[in-house]
């Protein structure tokens, strides 16, 4: 019984901090462990036996699943952190380096095509391509050069990605890319592929939005990024 009561705290912490990135996990665990120890000591001082004191402290912890959902609104999950480190790595890379090479190529091709050809469709396509390049590559790179050690860098990059995905989505919708009878007759038609593309865009926007919302208020100083 005693062992069961003692084992409750690690279980509680595991549920409450599930999927959170390591630094958040460590901070939360340290504080809750201290709080729990203080709580057990206080209940023992009040005259409770050790088992009852553990039980009372356990009751003070509350529901771990509710705590987990509250913590997830504040801290980045491992998935969020992975996504952010990927776009930060991209932002830190200089122009035409290996990681963001395709985006740099898209931007340059769009710019050159815009200058060389006068066709309207090509101009629209170039505009769209350049928008993607500016939002996903150019803006993060500029933010990295200017604000890499402040919270503004992550917030700006997150916002840039989100705004770009939404802008591309809005532009494609405006261009009537979707037709209403999609998926009725030709499942693997061009429209079906477009639908899949939209689903990816919506999913991306939702993910960017969620991470950006967490970063919006964050005030942490950053000093873990390499110099420009």
């Amino acid at each position: 019984m005693q062992k069961q009561a003692e084992a409750y705290l690690p279980q509680w912490l595991e549920i409450a901090t599930a999927d959170l990135e390591e630094s958040a996990k460590n901070k939360i665990s340290l504080e809750i462990q201290n709080h729990y120890a203080d709580s057990v000591a206080a209940h023992t001082e009040r005259g409770l036996g050790s088992l009852y004191a553990l039980g009372a402290a356990r009751n003070d912890l509350g529901d771990p699943t509710q705590a987990a959902s509250r913590f997830k609104k504040i801290y980045l999950t491992t998935k969020d952190a992975h996504y952010l480190s990927k776009i930060e790595k991209q932002a830190a890379a200089s122009l035409f380096s290996a990681t963001p090479f395709i985006l740099d190529l898209i931007g340059t091709t769009a710019f050159l095509t815009f200058l060389c050809f006068k066709d309207l469709t090509l101009h629209l396509l170039c505009g769209l391509s350049f928008l993607i390049y500016a939002g996903l590559r150019l803006l993060p790179r500029l933010l990295f050069l200017k604000f890499r050690q402040t919270a503004a860098f992550r917030r700006g990059v997150g916002l840039g990605h989100n705004a770009t995905v939404l802008a591309v989505f809005a532009l494609l919708l405006d261009a009537n890319f979707i037709e209403p009878d999609v998926l009725r007759d030709h499942f693997f038609s061009r429209q079906a592929i477009c639908m899949a593309f939209y689903a990816v865009l919506i999913n991306g926007a939702a993910r960017h939005g969620k991470v950006w919302h967490k970063l919006k208020n964050s005030n942490y100083e950053r000093n873990d990024l390499s110099p420009a």
Partner: protein, 103 residues
């Protein structure tokens, strides 16, 4: 009237008197409210960390009885937020009092 209730203003008010750690904040709120406001750890720490993320409080590690403890203190923007919350609460509670005291 827009009223933002909850634990955040109580934490800010507690930290007005100086740096404090989570356990003591919870105990002091419980004692001062004569046991009416008793928050679980699963509620207290997300609120504390949320306030820290917003820059209303800041934290630092200090050693206490051989254990590292996380102490929180009010920042300048936290002081402003507290003053605003207090004003809103006073307006709100006096309006409710007026209604409740009606014969």
């Amino acid at each position: 009237m827009k009223f933002k209730g909850g634990l955040a203003p109580l934490i800010l008010q507690n930290l007005r008197r100086g740096p404090n750690h989570g356990y003591r904040i919870a105990q002091e709120i419980k004692e001062k409210s004569k046991g009416v406001l008793d928050f679980k750890e699963g509620t207290l720490y997300p609120a504390l960390h949320g306030l820290e993320a917003k820059g209303l409080i800041s934290s630092s590690m200090q050693e206490e009885n051989g254990r590292p403890r996380c102490y929180y203190k009010l920042t300048e923007s936290g002081k402003k937020a507290l003053a605003k919350e207090k004003q809103e609460w006073l307006q709100f509670s006096s309006a409710i009092n007026l209604l409740m005291q009606e014969a």
